[in-house]
């Protein structure tokens, strides 16, 4: 199973839907809520977002692929579900 990690915001409903999607498919994932992270971590996260021209959350990494925005169809495709 590909590794899943994501950057999210605690205030974002689409980030909650994204977490719920992986939980409901029994896919383990790591996450960092950007707004609750320390400044150094926020800067590192922003550098990753900027590198992908991502302007918002959720920012999901599935293996080597990145999906910006809530996109369950893409998650399923990348995970082969």
């Amino acid at each position: 199973m590909k590794k899943v990690s994501m950057y999210t915001l605690s205030t974002c409903p689409w980030c909650r839907k994204t977490k719920a999607f992986f939980a409901s498919h029994d896919v383990p994932y790591d996450f960092i809520d950007y707004d609750l992270a320390d400044e150094a971590t926020q800067k590192r996260i922003m550098a990753e977002l900027d590198a992908k021209q991502a302007t918002g959350f959720p920012f999901v990494r599935i293996g080597d692929d990145v999906v910006v925005g809530y996109n369950p169809a893409r998650y399923q495709q990348l995970l082969g579900l």
Partner: protein, 111 residues
Amino acid sequence: MNVEARKRALVHFYTKVVTPLGYKFTPDEELKDFLLEQEVGLEQKHGVPFCPCQPITGERAHDMTLVCPCIPFHRAHYDYMKRCWCGLFVRQDVTDPDSLPQIPLSEVPRG
């Protein structure tokens, strides 16, 4: 702070801003209420109702483009999606907001 009163005030103010832009509140009342609640919280924390789904960096020029309603700063992107990033606002012709996915800026055609 009376959160419900502040949410009603934001609705009153936002309506005047987004209507001339061709947008309206999402018909999804649950999502609308949740997002407004988050914005009241962000306003209490930061003094400004920032978008609940985009990163505040502390860099003023960047962060000011995320003050709700942030439509004018992301016009081409949101017009393409027919919604704003967090989904609080949709184009006025939208009846089914669930059919509108978040589309990253990198996938929005230029020009």
